[in-house]
Symmetry: C2
Subunit: 160 residues, 2 copies
């Protein structure tokens, strides 16, 4: 699995391409690793992220979830509907501002937190890298995301 090997055939592949491919590949690999653990809870990975947010505090608006998870309404709206169908959350327009929709976990949604407690531990064992390495990895990923975000902002500013 997972090649895109460096200099081999005619043209060599540039480092930036390789970093991106490894990132793309690792992200899919880790979500794949979560899948069997989360399927026991009846959740996909993005759904799990939303529930983690709601376990931290609730209710939260769709916009709040989107800001924190970096997902737009095109992704969240149907996802939240599926969580509603699963009986894990309720969606209700706020009385004092009819634009916003508040997402609240149901008792079933809240009780799921207990079962979810074991998820991080199982993931930690499966990842097979040390805590120090995890922290280094996080630091690099966050630095990368930060500079990519400023680039997007630059483009947005250039247009405005």
């Amino acid at each position: 699995m997972t090649k895109l090997t460096g200099p081999s055939g005619s043209g060599s592949v540039a480092l930036s391409d390789l970093v991106c491919f490894d990132l793309y590949s690792a992200a899919r690999a880790i979500i794949r690793a979560y899948r069997p653990i989360l399927s026991g809870l009846g959740l996909t990975y993005p759904q799990y992220l939303v529930m983690v947010m709601l376990w931290q505090h609730a209710p939260r608006t769709v916009k709040d979830l989107g800001d924190n998870l970096d997902l737009d309404s095109g992704t969240l709206s149907p996802l939240l509907k599926r969580l509603e169908v699963s009986g894990l959350v309720t969606r209700r327009r706020r009385a004092d501002d009819e634009r916003t929709v508040e997402i609240t976990p149901t008792s079933k949604g809240r009780s799921l937190e207990r079962d979810a407690k074991r998820v991080p531990l199982e993931m930690a064992t499966v990842m097979g890298i040390s805590e120090t390495e995890e922290r280094k990895l996080r630091a690099l990923l966050r630095k990368l995301s930060a500079s990519l975000a400023t680039q997007v902002d630059d483009v947005a500013t250039r247009v405005a």
Copy 2:
């Protein structure tokens, strides 16, 4: 953007969850960064990966592409059809083994390589981390992917 902050509200979020979220988030951010660059070539990021493979050498079978990019036929078959519709590749069953399908870039597909030469450079400038950091990041990602892959194999073995 991009929170899932650590210890804040009631329950703190475990490190493994944070690593995974940062990975998930960074992977989307970098593909988002590729998008405007690749759209000039008429390619999505997975399509670009396939073309990079074909520029290295061709023809390649669907299986070969899948092994190297870690994608299955459910992803590749429609993707390759779209590349065929775009006039960038041809698909042809091999005479000596009717099971396999060979993917060959057309002259249009091959000539696209020149325009694509600038992609890695543009990405490198946008990423905003040093080559040393890129290499460290790659090393960590590959180590993570490797241990996740062995875990998947373990499960497969347990089933067999």
